[in-house]
């Protein structure tokens, strides 16, 4: 019998090992993309813009207030600032000092990532429009909901819900990452816990009706 017990022990150990391994390799149910952090065509840094510079989320994602979609900003929105900001400040500073030393006009320094932006909007080295015009930037969507889920940013913004509640510490993310698992249970849990607008149909919590999201 001891032989059999050993066998059982080995099998149990193997199973346990597999479980531990599964934890490490971050295996999750299909459809759960928590932690998704795709590479983007331009290495845009949310840490820099939202964190360091503290730009309001809705400055760029202005759709969040008035529409279902927060929207990925148009290149022209980037150009509001990047018409003048073409590279990191210190590199510009160095060039300026260098130019002063050499007694010439400072050259325009364009960072390689912003070059991609200028290519997209169709600007040449001197930020003058090119003949070919631009091509829109093909960003990679990070937060994907299934087609049958209708999430509305507008309502959540109107209720003063912080963007970080769902999107996580964006200000510390160099590259955008999916913070929450975006599962139905995750949505529903928050809806259950959030007090409702007084006078609304459900007095004690935000709507947990199916039709709040599915129609």
């Amino acid at each position: 019998m001891t032989y059999r017990n050993t066998k059982i022990l080995i099998v149990c150990m193997l199973l346990l090992g597999a479980l531990v391994l599964a934890q490490d390799t971050d295996i999750r149910l299909p459809g759960n993309n928590q932690g998704y952090e795709p590479e983007q065509p331009i290495a845009f840094s949310h840490r820099l813009h939202a964190g360091e510079l503290n730009i309001d989320c809705q400055f760029c994602h202005y759709g969040a207030e008035s529409s279902r979609h927060a929207g990925i900003p148009s290149a022209s929105v980037c150009m509001n600032c990047h018409k003048t900001v073409t590279a990191k400040f210190d590199t510009v500073l160095i060039e300026r000092e260098l130019a002063e030393v050499e007694g010439r006009d400072p050259r325009r320094i364009i960072s390689p990532e912003l070059r991609k932006l200028y290519d997209a909007v169709g600007l040449d080295e001197n930020l003058q429009p090119t003949a070919e015009g631009g091509t829109p930037i093909e960003w990679v969507r990070v937060h994907n909901l299934p087609d049958f889920v209708y999430f509305d940013h507008r309502v959540h913004v109107a209720r003063d819900l912080a963007c970080e509640t769902c999107h996580g510490p964006v200000g510390s993310m160099e590259r955008m990452r999916q913070f929450a698992d975006l599962s139905m249970g995750w949505c529903v849990q928050c809806h259950r816990d959030t007090p409702a607008i007084p006078g609304g149909p459900a007095e004690d919590h935000a709507s947990t009706d199916c039709a709040a999201c599915h129609y």
Partner: protein, 996 residues
Amino acid sequence: MKERTPNELLLPFEDSSGSRRSFLKLVGFGIGSASLAGCSRGPLQSAIPTLEASREFVPGRAYWIASTCGGCDAGCGVLAKCRDGRPIKLEGIPGHPVSGGGLCPAGQGSVLSLYDSQRFDGPQRGAGGAGSSVSWSDADRELRSAFDALKQSGGRVRLLTGTVNSPSTRAAIARFLAGFADARHISYDGLSSSAMLAAHERTHGERLLPRHHFERARTIASFDADFLSTWISPVEFTAGYTQLRELDMNALRMSKHFQLEARTSLTGCRADERVRLAPWEIGAALSGLCDHLEGRAGIERRCRGAADTAPYRELIARIADELWATRGESLVVAGANDVEIQVLVNYANELLQSYGTTLDTVHASQQRLGDDREVAELAQELAEDSVDLLIVNGVNPAYDFGALLPLERAGMLISCAGAPDETSALAAWVVPEPHFLEAWNDAEPYRGVHALSQPTVPLLRSGRTLRETLSRWAGDERADQDLLRAHWRAELYPRSPAHAGPSGFDAFFDQALHEGFVLLEGDSSTPGAFAMDAVRPYSSAQAPVAGALGLVLYPKAGMLDGRHGHNPWLHELPDPVSKIAWDNYACLSPTTAERLELSEGQLVSVVTTAEGASVELPVHVQRGQHDGVVAVALGYGRTGTDRFTNLGPEWLQGRPTVEAGGVIGANAALLTGPLDAGRRCDARQATVIATGSSVELASTQDHHSLTVPQHLAIEGHEVRDMVISTTFDDLEAHPDDVVHEHAVPHAGELWKEDHKGGTTWGMAIDLSRCTGCSGCVIGCQAENNVPVVGRDEVLRHREMSWLRIDRYYQGGDDELRTLHQPMMCQQCDHAPCESVCPVLATLHSDEGLNQQVYNRCVGTRYCANTCPYKVRRFNWFDYPREDKLQNHSLNPDVTVRTRGVMEKCSFCIQRIQEAKAEASREGRKLRDGDITPACQQSCPAKAIVFGNLEDPESAVARLAASQRSYSVLEELNVQPSVRYLAHVYNGPRTKGSHGH
């Protein structure tokens, strides 16, 4: 809410084949799928924002553009609901001077025609589809040189159009034709009112079509005029007509409507009294009516004695009495395109003092301006080979007239058709027009009512309006928008009160664009006094010869004269009376069908006695039709309908909607007969000959009455009371009895409910107002992405429409009563469907909605089985959505359902959520009227009201509290949230009040 300056939206829209990127550029926020190898996270989705941010639109947010419907020439105002750069739905402009806010099925459906992938893309040389594409500049150059040659030679130029009530286009036509020595503009209407115009020329000295004010008509006598469905301006007439069917308890008002007609029309179904009158009897009946009226008016008797020989003598006398009693608020109309009959109608109206009250000749209608005589003349000229250039725009004469109008004998035929049609197939050149939602336009449906159309989307297919094309050819190189603005600046702006103000033309024009229309005085007709001499009793009636039947050709609400023949929504729309989709058919009365030993679906040849022209059609046994006529719908048999071959699902026993290379239905326009008599749709005779074979007609309803089959009837329960009806006098005398006698005592609940209240969305449907026009059906289809399933699936009773209109006949053919009842999910509070779903795919919301969660549904169909209203629809297949262009008409706010899931009316939950989101954004509570479901929005009759049943102040709660209010199958205690208001006929008291 209404955004009116879409100039920024006119981004380049390349041809659709290579346009994915440009389309995404346009929509601003597209999602593409590309495979990403070795990634467990599913396909990579890209998000492509526009290069330029637009102040105008935010991705995902709808905006509305005011325009004018191009579905027919009535000129109803529409708001095009656009999402991400494309129109997805048309809605009526509330308070529009023509339509008043509703829309008909054809209007609702016309948004789909925009996304017709078979439309012409730029000019074509050579016949129709077989032609070769030419650039606009090449085409203009070649055609101009041809025109120059004609100008030199003094050749004969004819421009054949439908009704052109666009002043700027008319100006462009005039400018273009002025360059030629012998040039004429000829217009005709597929559904002609030429005789009405001609009759007014005789009686009032001016060729005009008066505006009909049904909202002022307390007594209406209609002779075969289907004014609630297809006649001239049905949306407007429905809105007006139902205003006098206001039966709220505080304001009981009801017009009296007599209908004397040969076929069973939708209007006849609404009538308080309806009799069957053959087309050849109309003249005599009208003469009789005039005889009576003359007598009462005490003037010289021009129709003396006609009353004695008129059919339905007593009824005619009674109609005359009732009309006379409300004179000044009476209206006589006739549908016949026969000048003599229309003169008598004018005479009757004159005697009844209708002119100036119910008939407006000052702000005359320009909705139908066609002149049949001109077409006859053109035919003559063509036959003589004397037309050197024929330009056809807006009509399809090859389809409408066939060989009677030898188009091929024109020296050069230019067609302006936007999509291939019978005429463009014969044309040497096709210079396509854009869809009305892509183009600038203006219209003047009534004198003084100027409506504007503006592009809602950049040109999906390269096309040019007639105005721009003719201006180009006349040497004016301005863009279409500039032409229009110039015309408005020169012609309309000076007449506006704004002209005197400081704001200038741009503000005036922008305001007009914003509203969609502008009302201007100073442009009115000036008819003369009534010319009594023109009146003479009708004499030329001809009863059919022995063995023949009178032939009545009529339009269907969806197809009209065939202009919507390529629109699948409208093909699948069941005819509001016959409930048959996808076909036209020869309607015979039950008696006649029996006499001819014909039954439903048997194929017959309908052969005109005079010419021997024939069409082959299946028989439909139509109750309430005159025994002496055969009625056939126009608008079918269009070429190009073979596109529907692959429409429905393909499977083992599936049958195509139409055989490859075939057409849907048969073209009955070819039976109208010689052109010189005008486009007489009811004056022909035909014999009906069985061919021996038969087909099945795709009817959405199998049992046509509330009476159960006789051999199964239980005594005392022969008739079911789904539709409660009563008479006006009964209602007045005992308002409480109307519904009460159908009430079932409520035994109380078995359990105490746990659920919260506060909001219960509900709907009230006034059956007295509902005409069954079916605008809501197509409105719902457009709003909710309801798929088209094809003829075979309809035959298998698998139509998908969430909202259907049940039609029940009651009574014999002589005194036929027809009841219509819109039927959709009743959102029951004790929904039987909910308790049977094993996986919680359908359950109740806190706001009293019966929710259907598509993504949870596994498709047991148990809910549909147990639904007593049978309003649930199952996705039997993945319905083909292979036409990528057409898919752009889908509403992005509603899930496109997959195979194997149940779906049903959601009370337009997406609109409820949108309204709630907007209210929350604005930091306010929802107000009554914030939410308008698509069906309510579309309803010209305002028969549907939606709102919170628990708010006693809401419109719906007030209607639900009406004494006429009941719910269908109340005895089941499923507690539906849809309340129906009993149908009321304007009639005398009955014993008790047995409505049905």
